[in-house]
């Protein structure tokens, strides 16, 4: 005795239920699925670089300097005659590696400091002032200052990029800990005789992982761009490391002649960062739309 409108909707939902689960999931979370697919392709390209790359990325061929895209150099060559496509494929590895390491490093350090700040009022005041101080220094300057002082390597770049991200993670974790601390299930745990370390492990941290993972994915995306900035300013990974940032930095001097040197790695970097941002957006809406509002 349903009205026609409800019957029609019921039929459509019925059809949906019979479709393969992945299709139904994709329909409901388009952003996450699109992002994940794009990211998977980029990661695959990076992993299969040795087999996919037509040329050795470091093989210089001065005769073929600054050639436009052609049959055997699909994306053209750079100032030293190296194949842009091969270097771009290899570059993906460095940027993805830097991005993930920065995200993990800043998430873990931020989790530790943030939880301490959330649970200890005295430490909270000191930590938060330090974090405010670090946030006041523009990320680029902090990273650049660090890079001028320590020997440039992938590891030091990761630390230099992570430094400005840590205060943001600490601020997020601290606010989450302060809200979770007031929840009745924490009071119940105390009433059951559960000691603080166990309360942290079983009750507090599991409930703040969701927003932390979403924040980490945004950091992963911005870290890849940051790596490009650092290399661009001449304070990034050592020049011989084929990261997208270095490639684009080398392209600066000849930008008028061969814009492809900046354009193609730029597009790859853009797509990868877009993929990670989409995954971040998708995760936020999937896991907990309410918490997502704050990011």
């Amino acid at each position: 005795m349903d009205s026609p409108m409800i019957a029609a909707l019921e039929a459509r939902l019925e059809r949906q239920r019979r479709q393969p689960r992945i299709l139904v999931f994709a329909r409901r979370h388009p952003v996450l699925v699109a992002g994940a697919a794009l990211l998977a392709t980029m990661v695959l390209l990076a992993l299969l670089a040795p087999w996919l790359a037509p040329h050795d990325p470091t093989e210089m061929n001065v005769l073929q300097r600054l050639k436009p895209p052609s049959a055997d150099y699909l994306l053209g060559t750079d100032a030293l005659g190296r194949d842009i496509l091969s270097r771009t494929l290899y570059g993906a590895r460095v940027s993805l590696l830097v991005g993930v390491s920065v995200a993990l490093f800043s998430a873990l350090v931020g989790l530790g400091i943030g939880t301490v700040a959330g649970f200890n009022r005295v430490a909270d005041r000191i930590i938060m002032r330090i974090m405010d101080g670090m946030m006041a220094i523009p990320g680029i300057l902090l990273a650049v200052a660090l890079m001028t002082l320590i020997r440039a390597s992938i590891a030091t770049v990761v630390i230099a990029i992570a430094m400005p991200e840590i205060p943001r993670v600490v601020r997020l974790v601290r606010s989450l800990v302060l809200t979770i601390r007031e929840q009745p299930y924490i009071e119940a745990a105390r009433a059951m005789g559960t000691r603080l370390p166990m309360i942290l492990l079983r009750h507090v941290i599991p409930n703040l992982l969701t927003p932390l993972i979403v924040q980490a994915s945004f950091i992963w995306a911005s870290a890849m761009i940051f790596e490009a900035y650092l290399s661009f300013l001449g304070a990034g990974t050592p020049p011989e490391v084929p990261s997208w940032g270095n490639m684009m930095a080398e392209g600066r001097s000849v930008v008028q002649l061969a814009f492809g040197i900046i354009l193609y790695p730029g597009i790859f970097l853009g797509l990868t960062v877009l993929a990670v941002n989409l995954v971040g957006d998708g995760l936020r809406d999937l896991l907990d739309p309410r918490i997502g509002r704050k990011l």
């Binding site: 002032r129 330090i130 405010d132 101080g133 670090m134 946030m135 006041a136 220094i137 523009p138 990320g139 680029i140 300057l141 902090l142 650049v144 200052a145 660090l146 890079m147 001028t148 002082l149 320590i150 400005p164 995306a221 761009i225 490009a228 900035y229 661009f232 300013l233 001449g234 304070a235 684009m248 930008v255 008028q256 814009f259 900046i262 354009l263 730029g266 970097l269 853009g270 797509l271 960062v273 877009l274 941002n277 989409l278 957006d281 997502g292 509002r293 990011l295």
Partner: protein, 312 residues
């Protein structure tokens, strides 16, 4: 009134922390600071000269106190490379950076806030998806790729704008604007994307509140509801985002300046890096951090304007 006092007092510890971080950065690095500043090619007496001028041989605490004393008197030390006082170097190069930052922020805010509001108001429609999509895309591109893209498109091909360089306002309005157009747009796009996303999520949160449902039950039209009821509540979080976003804006500006070869603070930073002119880097970090803190103080003070709960 004690809210204002509290906000003013809160600025001091933050600036103190910035000063300590900047001071410690050089000393924490492995190896002898003087050697690092002098660089690999420098001779023994160069290193000794730097050690003297920067007083690196005195005990650390004494150096710190001396340094702070200098800063409070407005003396940011002297550049190792040019020998000029850092404060003077910064003052000469600050005008372009100020202009770019201000115009970029204005350009971003003027577009981002309305876009965010409309996307939230029309949540779920194609408008929302378009704005969110554009924002994520712009947000994912490094500023120099956009910069060189614009230069390639508008300068080399169409020649509407100069490839690089900066003309100060005194050289006439048109050249001034023509030189700033592309840098402002390339830096602005990213900051606009961030602001649009934040405005949208803040507005969505406000539109879900009970008092919006009450306003609707009063028979208000959507425009009135949006502007008078929703926006006034969303103003505080949006202003905060603009404040916090400054740090990201400054990063963008520094890179934009090297793309368009604009002689601003950003360019000065890059040059000081290459020349390992640490006192200048120290000075720039201090100045930009102070600017950031003051701007955020202003956004905090605006709270009182928008949110009566804080005034009373």
């Amino acid at each position: 009134m004690n809210y204002l006092l509290r906000r003013l007092l809160a600025v001091i510890p933050v600036l103190a922390v910035v000063a300590v971080i900047v001071f410690l950065l050089l000393r924490l690095a492995p190896g002898d600071p003087a050697v690092i500043i002098a660089g690999d090619t420098a001779s023994a007496e160069d290193i000794e000269h730097i050690r003297q001028t920067l007083g690196l041989n005195r005990p650390v605490v004494e150096q710190f106190v001396g340094w702070i004393g200098q800063i409070l008197r407005g003396d940011l030390g002297t550049s190792v490379f040019t020998g000029m006082p850092v404060a003077e170097m910064i003052r000469q190069r600050v005008e372009p950076t100020l202009w770019i930052s201000a115009l970029t922020m204005a350009f971003a805010v003027v577009f981002a806030v309305p876009m965010g509001i409309i996307a939230a108001w029309k949540a779920g429609t194609w408008v929302d998806r378009a704005v969110s999509g554009l924002a994520v895309a712009a947000f994912s591109l490094p500023v120099f790729v956009i910069g060189y893209g614009l230069v390639y498109g508008f300068s080399t091909q169409l020649d509407w704008f100069p490839v690089q360089g900066f003309k100060s306002l005194s050289d006439g309005f048109v050249p001034f604007i023509r030189h700033l157009a592309l840098p402002v747009i390339s830096g602005g796009l990213i900051y606009m994307a961030l602001l649009a996303r934040m405005t949208r999520s803040t507005m969505l949160e406000v539109l879900a509140q009970d008092y919006i449902r009450t306003a609707r039950a009063k028979g208000l039209s959507s425009q009135r509801l949006l502007l008078r009821h929703a926006l006034k509540n969303a103003a505080v979080p949006i202003v905060t985002t603009i404040g916090l976003g400054i740090a990201m804006l400054l990063s963008g500006v520094i890179v934009t300046e090297s793309v368009f070869a604009i002689p601003g603070i950003g360019r000065l930073t890059v040059d000081s890096i290459l020349r390992r002119d640490y006192p200048v880097i120290q000075g720039i970090v201090l100045v930009t951090a102070t600017a950031y803190v003051l701007i955020n103080l202003i956004t905090d003070l605006l709270y009182g304007l928008f949110d009566p709960r804080i005034r009373y």
